[in-house]
């Protein structure tokens, strides 16, 4: 049984299908990375899984139960976490309040989870009383990830977690994603920095025009000359 199994997903905004039958399966030990050119429907697929984009065809199963078009708050209760690409923090709230909001549906675990998040992202501990909007880009991303981890999800969806970060922070974020995965959290993410992301990927999905083009392990995709030429910049 796969953790997440999406089959022939069709969907988009306002009746227009951006996704034209996408398959995607993720287990709890997987780091899945979605790459592809602009407009391929990468973020749309992630949002479709999380109930933020209407799914008109196909099915999405979480532990063999359909979650097609479920409300995001229901999916959080089922153990999913989602980190949007931009605006992924509450800027006027403190770091600690941001994290507390992550645990909104599980208020009784807030205290222990806060400690775990602070030990996982030590820079956040000293900034915990600061408004999150005042932090640097990399620290904001830590807040965003910490917020999503507060519910102890089993599947984490990340939309371009390294967008706009310096190479140093990018590597830091990728390292953290691998650590989170090792702790037993399935990962599915969209990445522009395709090469670096595929390095850590156990599964890679190359999308183009709303369809699967290649699906393989990250290493195989990196070594595939066709993929390298068309999607990884040679």
């Amino acid at each position: 049984m796969s953790l997440l199994n999406a089959t022939q997903v069709e969907g988009g905004y306002g009746g227009m299908n951006i996704l034209k039958g996408v398959d995607m399966a993720i287990d709890k030990e997987d780091i899945g990375v979605i790459v592809g050119p602009n407009g391929a429907g990468k973020s749309t697929m992630l949002k479709a899984i999380f109930g933020l984009v209407e799914v008109n065809g196909g099915d999405i199963l979480l532990r063999d139960k359909s979650i097609k078009n479920s409300a995001p708050n229901k999916l959080v209760e089922l153990g999913m976490g989602f980190i949007p690409q931009e605006k992924n923090i509450f800027p006027s709230m403190t770091v600690e309040e941001n994290l507390e909001m992550g645990a909104y549906i599980k208020p009784h675990t807030t205290k222990t989870m806060l400690e775990r998040i602070y030990s996982f992202f030590p820079p956040l501990l000293e900034k915990r009383k600061q408004p999150a909007g005042e932090l640097s880009g990399g620290q904001r991303q830590m807040v965003a990830m910490g917020r999503a981890l507060m519910t102890e999800p089993t599947l984490l969806l990340l939309d371009e977690p390294t967008a706009g970060l310096s190479p140093l922070y990018m590597q830091e974020i990728f390292d953290r994603i691998v650590e989170i995965n090792k702790a037993g959290v399935g990962i599915l993410m969209v990445e522009q920095n395709a090469k670096q992301a595929l390095e850590i990927a156990t599964k890679g999905f190359v999308l183009a025009s709303g369809q699967n083009l290649y699906t393989d392990t990250g290493q195989n995709l990196l070594n595939d000359p066709e993929v390298a030429k068309s999607f990884l910049g040679g």
Partner: protein, 334 residues
């Protein structure tokens, strides 16, 4: 010293009274804006409605307060707050929620709220007529005269019981709101939704519940402001027209979507109004000898006549927005 007493009575106290009423009203407007991102024009009518409820219950049980030693309208205020909160939720469910779910632009909901204003005003007039009434039906408004401990001051400071209660309630409401927004889970969820509604949804926050709580706060605070205004002066069924502008000015000047800004804005507008209609000649007469002899001090020296009081919030609004487009406290620019 009598001049000082005159100043305290006519500026310090009356500014605090109108400032408090505007502040409580503006908090509601700003909360609704911060959660639902639209300017709720029917807010002042919810204030009138709340006051009308208090009047109705006071008329039904005029002696109820005397038994407990408090003014009857004050005893009826909690009931009116609950009813007005339900009215607010009901209005949202019938008129604004369907529009929101259609994903219309905020301006459409603003226009809908204008429609609700006209409807509520019609209903209020239908049941209450157009004449103004005193909220004190069988009781007398308690007036406190505090003598100043100076020989030169022969006149007392005058403050009425509803004015004292209003100021105490405003302080309590502000402290309560502060604790609610910063200490409770629901209050933080409200701030989160005002900060980033999409992320609030993604975090598992039940946004429909936040909306309901917002209306409960806005409705009950509106009933409170309306009741105190009516207790201070009288209940006029069409008072919402005169309230709407200062309240919106207070909310915008303070920084829309910012509750503390609404409080600051409320007092700014309240004091500016009272200062602009204050008759300065009484104070100036005292220092007449400083002026050249040919200069006469007119008997009435106010910045604007009290019938033009309503221009003051307009003026502050324009001035502040030119100087600081997002308000005193940085509000949301949407």
């Amino acid at each position: 010293m009598n001049e000082l007493v005159f100043f305290i009575n006519n500026v310090v106290i009356s500014g605090a009274v109108s400032g408090s009423i505007y502040a409580i009203g503006a908090i509601g407007v700003t909360l609704v804006f911060s959660i639902m991102r639209f300017a709720h024009f029917a807010h002042a009518d919810m204030m009138t409605f709340g006051a009308l409820m208090v009047f109705m219950f006071t008329a039904l049980f005029p002696g109820a307060g005397a038994a407990l030693g408090i003014p009857t309208p004050l005893l009826m205020l909690p009931i009116a707050m609950v009813i007005t909160a339900f009215l607010a939720i009901g209005i949202d469910k019938t008129f604004y929620k369907p529009l929101r779910e259609h994903g219309v632009k905020p301006i459409v909901i603003v226009i809908a709220s204008l429609g609700v204003t006209l409807m509520l005003q019609g209903l209020i007039r239908l049941f209450a007529g157009t004449s103004s009434r005193s909220m004190y039906i069988e009781e007398r408004k308690e007036i406190f005269r505090i003598d100043m401990p100076f020989d030169l001051a022969t006149r007392p400071i005058v403050i009425t019981e509803p004015q004292i209660t209003l100021i105490i309630f405003t302080i309590l409401a502000v402290i309560g709101l502060h604790l609610f927004l910063n200490r409770t889970r629901m209050g933080k969820a409200m701030r989160a939704m005002s900060d980033n509604p999409d992320l609030a949804r993604v975090s598992g926050i039940n946004t429909n519940k936040v909306v309901v709580v917002t209306w409960i706060l806005a409705g009950s605070l509106a009933a409170m402001a309306g009741t105190f205004l009516s207790m201070d002066v009288s209940l006029t069924p069409d008072m919402s027209f005169f309230l709407l502008l200062p309240i919106f000015a207070a909310a915008i000047v303070g920084g829309v979507g910012h509750p503390y800004g609404a409080i600051a804005g409320g007092f700014l507008v309240g004091y500016a109004e009272t200062l602009s209609v204050f008759n300065w000649s009484i104070l100036l007469r005292r220092v007449h000898h400083w002026f050249p002899e040919w200069m006469e001090i007119p008997r009435d020296l106010a910045l604007v006549g009290s019938e033009y009081k309503i221009v003051v919030p307009f003026f502050i609004l324009v001035a502040v927005l030119v100087w600081r487009p997002t308000g005193i406290f940085k509000g949301k620019v949407i």
